[in-house]
């Protein structure tokens, strides 16, 4: 039996999951799915910044298009820190596609003219 907090929405339900993957404590189905993933393959979204190469002292915010394996957070951060983009940037632009073969892209979240 494992116990943890659901992070899918701000409500933060206290979830319990047993060895047969039966989930209790969730207020909605998304919580059950989260609990199963959390014991088999925990994943997280990352948000961070990327350098804007053609502007002085300028950064742009980015996010992962989907959750990535928790164990890869710092590796993905390294990729983000290594990479730069050029302005103008648009929300939704792909800055890195399929980062470290995760099937997840790094997406721009801010418009810079």
């Amino acid at each position: 039996m494992k116990e943890f907090t659901c992070i899918v929405c701000p409500r933060g339900c206290r979830l319990k999951i047993d060895d047969e993957l039966n989930v209790t404590g969730n207020s909605c189905p998304r919580g059950a799915e989260y609990a199963k993933n959390e014991v088999t393959n925990p994943k997280r979204m990352i948000t961070s910044l990327m350098r804007v190469k053609n502007r002085e002292n300028c950064v742009v915010s980015v996010k992962t298009s989907n959750a990535i394996p928790k164990g890869m957070i710092f590796q993905v951060m390294e990729e983000i820190n290594k990479t730069g983009v050029n302005a103008p940037t648009n929300i939704g632009d792909v800055a890195i596609s399929n980062v470290l073969n995760t099937g997840v892209d790094i997406i721009i979240t801010k418009n810079i003219k």
Binding site: I7, P10, R11, I46, S61, N111
Partner: protein, 417 residues
């Protein structure tokens, strides 16, 4: 003198929503004055995701959320001035602002909406003991340095206060290579969302010390060198022998937000215990034609609710400009047992179909009824499984239930037998 129908002070989430709604309600002559060089307010620095679940049914980052509203402001042709600081507002609705292009200008407005946001409490407000060295900084300021300008303010960090901004910054600075040693919270419970404790602290093995506070800061050489924490008892007194020392270069403070109302204060508007102005069902303050919404009315934790409140103020101001919101009555709404404040504080018109009452409880509590009573009469009653101070409660009551109420309304918490 320049005349405008509606002037909105502050172009954050509240101000943009107010402008869009006023426009949709037939007010064309609108001006937003924003001191920053972009629209969006605090959301510009909130690059994490979790915004917009109610509004858009998706999880957006702060900049994505604000851009949807900034786009609407542009599409509707609503005028705004950036880098424009409002210096003064008078009781007869004269707004004075200044910027590099226009100089100092005074505008006469039919209605004014305050949407000026909030500020963070600093070291003075919590009587932080020890050396006054550099490296003591509020979490929101550190967030601005990092997320807008790309500077990390320190390498070894202690965070005081477990509000959401502190938790979010614990993760953010860890991702950028800083070592966050711990988060210390003086209360026996955290003020942050459980979700943020899980994904910002537990994920990175950052300890959270509840009922602990900073005993002193050491930094004789001009920069923070050490922070000493100690446990507190239930009277908030330090318990001798519980000291823990942390060698660090930065102390981040996440110890509360306060509505930013210095301009309203000067007008002697009636103020509430939230430190914001008292408002009626149209979100109008005690000064006719002057409205307030968003974090300068009361501090919100979720931006979607700020947007909604901004719309209410925009509609309220439009009603006022069109001469629809004459006072029909004066019903006071007061916090009772277990409730720290309620908004609105007054009901004065019959314009709304229903009224959403917003309030916070004083301490975490379970298995209770929220009672809305007026004299002997119980106007409305709702059961709640859990209520916590960090989550604003919203309860909507229909017009039918409210029209016959003649006496003040008291909102109180009653434990279920």
């Amino acid at each position: 003198m320049i005349k405008r129908d509606l002037v909105i002070i502050g172009g954050g989430s509240a101000g943009m929503a107010a402008a869009i709604e006023a426009k949709k309600n037939g007010i064309d002559d609108i001006l937003i004055l924003e001191k920053d060089s972009v629209l969006g307010g605090i959301l510009n620095q909130c690059i994490h995701n979790g915004f917009g679940l109610t509004e858009f049914k998706e999880e957006l980052t702060g900049p994505e959320y604000l851009s949807r509203f900034a786009n609407q402001v542009d599409e509707l042709g609503i005028e705004y001035k950036l880098d424009s600081l409002v210096l003064d507002v008078s009781e007869n609705r004269l707004v004075t602002y200044s910027n590099a292009h226009d100089g100092v200008v005074t505008i006469e407005a039919k209605a004014i909406i305050f949407a000026t946001g909030c500020y963070e409490r600093g070291p003075g407000a919590i009587q932080l003991a020890g050396d006054r060295c550099s490296g003591i900084i509020t979490a929101g300021t550190a967030q601005k340095y990092l997320n807008i300008h790309g500077f990390l303010v320190g390498k070894r960090i202690v965070i005081l206060g477990s509000g959401d901004i502190g938790l979010i910054m614990a993760r953010r600075m860890t991702l950028e290579g800083a070592k966050v040693l711990c988060v210390s919270e003086i209360m026996p419970y955290s003020n942050g969302l459980n979700r943020n404790i899980a994904q910002c602290l537990n994920d990175y093995n950052i300890p959270l010390y509840l009922s602990h506070s900073v005993l002193r800061v050491e930094g004789k050489k001009g920069r923070v060198e050490k922070v000493v924490l100690a446990a507190v008892d239930d009277k908030m007194k330090f318990i001798p022998g519980t000291e823990m020392e942390f060698e660090c270069d930065t102390l981040l403070l996440s110890v509360g937000l306060v509505p930013y109302v210095s301009l309203l204060d000067k007008l002697h508007a009636d103020m509430s215990s939230t430190r914001g102005a008292k408002v009626n069902d149209q979100l109008m303050t005690s000064i006719p034609g002057i409205f307030s919404c968003g974090n300068c009315l009361h501090v919100h934790d979720v931006v979607d609710f700020v947007t909604d409140e901004g719309r209410d103020a925009g509609r309220g101001a439009a009603n006022y400009i069109k001469g629809l919101s004459n006072k029909q009555k004066h019903l006071e709404v007061k916090p009772g047992n277990g409730v720290s404040y309620v908004i609105p504080q007054f009901i004065e018109t019959d314009l709304n179909n229903d009224i959403t009452f917003k309030f916070r409880v004083r301490k975490p509590i379970q298995n209770v009824f929220v009672n809305f009573s007026s004299g002997e009469e119980l106007v409305h009653k709702v059961y709640k499984q859990v209520l916590i101070p960090s989550e604003m409660v919203m309860i909507k009551i229909s017009k039918e239930k409210l029209t016959n109420v003649k006496d003040e309304i008291v909102v109180s918490i009653k434990e279920r037998e």
